[in-house]
Amino acid sequence: MINSKWKQIGFICAFVSALWACSGSSSDTPTPTPTTPTDQAGSDRKAMLTNLADNIIVPSYTNFKAKFDVMLAKSDAFAAKPDNASLTALRQAWVDAYTDWQKVELFDVGPAEQYTLRNFFNIYPANVTGIEEYISAGSGTFDVPLSYPKQGFPALDYLINGLGTTDDAIVARYTTAADAAKRIAYLKRLTSQMNTQFTTVYTAWTTGGYRDTFINCTALNAGCSTSKLVNGYVLNYERYIRSGKLGIPSGAMTNGTVATDKIEAYYKKDLSLTLAKTAHQASVDFFNGKSVKTGQEGPGLKTYLNSLGAKDSSTGTSLVDIINKQFEAVNQQLNALKPNLADEVKTNNAAVVLAYTQMQKAVRMLKVDMTTAMSITITYTDNDGD
């Protein structure tokens, strides 16, 4: 019985070899994959997730929380006694918190994904008409998609930077204007809404046990940490950095029509480039697994890709180097821009489009080359394959 099976196998082997010979394979073609053994430590997803959680995600949230708490306090102080000093203090705190927000927006996984934290923090451009309606009504839900542009940092931007050309004029809207009380009430609702949303997410990570869930869900399927993390990361880079910060306002993605009003932190004007750069750098650091606490690189996407030996077969350059080089190209273009992107898209549009174009190249590498090397499905659907 066994004998005949081996005969069969022998025959098949001969058959295959014959086909092989006929198909004319030559040996001088580049190897499309690594020949180096996979590095066991680098491919340990639990170690990667642990480093990402303990040294990047949670500390980033903690750092943001510190800035955010200051902003909440300054906002309360301003609401209690609106004047130029309290406005200036609030504005500075808002700048600091908004900048640090860019370092946590990319973690679209776990509680942040579940509660869609971004929707309550950074959907812009702010809907000014909607905000004013909510103010005069003295109420209005914050939980439906239509309400997202009426809250978060963009709404605060409008409320503290967009109500007048001078600080005096802005403060007057909170003191002498007929609807001053209502405006103050809205400011309070806004910040407390942000606080509620953020606290939910932060608590889940710190004391709610999500950190353990996160590092223990090591499978690579759509429901587990690595896949969700990478998907959220790539989505953030593509849609919220590339498109949101540059592609849409510069007109690169639409008809070529410049839309200055779609710039992030539109009313503050000179903050937009800082926000874009901060968000971009956060993505770069995250890719490289760089600890927020020590600045040292640890297990992350970079080490994981290296352990898989992902590289360009024709040149032998590692995918990690290719991606980092592309990040560098983006940085160069961003560095060439002036702080006020609303001005830049009008007067220096080509330079903004150039930065967008470099980001677009990075998107492809992250979305296609990186995910395919990691065997992660980028736009997943819970369906069979074959």
């Binding site: 295959v16 994959t33 491919s43 077969s313 990691m374 065997s375 736009t379 069979d384």
Partner: protein
Amino acid sequence: MQHYFRKTTSAAPLAVFRLLFGLMLFGSIVRFWGKGWIAELYIQPRFFFPFYGFEFVEPLGQYTYLLFAVCGISALLVAVGLFYRAASVLLFLSFTYIELIDKSTYLNHYYFTSMVCLLLIFLPAHAYFSVDAYRRPYLRAGQIPAWQLDSLKLLVAILYVFAGLAKVNSDWLLHGLPLRIWLPAHNDVPLVGFLFNYPWVPLVFSWFGCLYDLSIPFLLWNGKTRPWAYAAVVVFHGLTAWLFPIGMFPYIMIVTALIFFSAPFHLALLRAISQRLSIPTTFLISQRTYTYPPLITSAIQVTFVIFFVFQLLFPFRYLLYPGELFWTEQGYRFSWRVMLMEKAGYAQFTVKDQLGHRTIVNNTEFLTPLQEKMMATQPDMLLQYAHLLRDYYSKRGFQHPAVYVDSYVALNGRLGKPLINPATNLADKQDSFTHKAWITPFNDNIYGF
């Protein structure tokens, strides 16, 4: 040949196959329904990708549930062998219709199922151990022409051998691709997970998979090797079911392979079932041989010959196209090419016209994630989608819109590159069976089939 066509065989294997296959299909339909995939895949999408030449197959909206109900009920009727002929026709039509609605849901095992259903229409699978045979004893027959059972075995053999041949290529056998990409994804499973980090493991899997596919039909056909072969079937498909998200396919194949087993095996199985259901064993005894009228027999024989000639030739149609099959996918479907590629892509479309309209398309506005994923790597779907965009935007003020795509596709771990020539206005290109010259050359070689 005449001698072969006069040979008869026990009707039991076909009856068991009918029963198990019908139940399996019924189960699949229930599972599909239960997971909410009917709405997700056939009702919610705004647009669909019909197959070339089957554009008349349209989604049915809410009636899709009815279609699935028809399919599920006919599967059940086929299983128990009630109103068998009508049920088998309905099963084939409804199942095939479902699979033709949207290319993005194409799977080889759906095609296989469709083809089996087609064959079942012509086979006397209800002649034995069926409700029909119970109600109308004159139908009952213990023997059927051997070629009718063999035709099913032949289809299974074709599936395996072609799947095996497709694996005879340099990516699969020399580089262990795409398993080298897929297996490390499971390096966290207990006990054996660490093995998946070693580069030789995917190579072993690849060679085993290839040899398995090429040899298993012969080993199943041969009585001596059959028990071992069947054990291999269970292990192999069990392993793929465990490692990869391939749904019902492994189970369908595990059940289908039983058809190679001997008549005594199947008779024993049916006797056991009969005892359980308190059916008198006399029901299982019939000396009659099921025969069609001579003219119909000839007609079926001719049809089957045509069918199998088609099955043998169609997978080779890729040879008529220039370029790398895995890259262009011209002649890729309906050829039993299973799990051969890790292909991922990205496609960003620009629509513009001479009046100065220009827009970059957000694919999520038009397509589901699954559709977008499939479209991004398959040239014919990229073209269909481009035409959809052309028609959509010409209704919205664009004059003779031109559609360009910035595509980026990575195949089996190679760095991504454009799949479609970005300077091609896809709005002007027509789909056909001819070569698509606007696909950029692969500039690499994958040797073999």
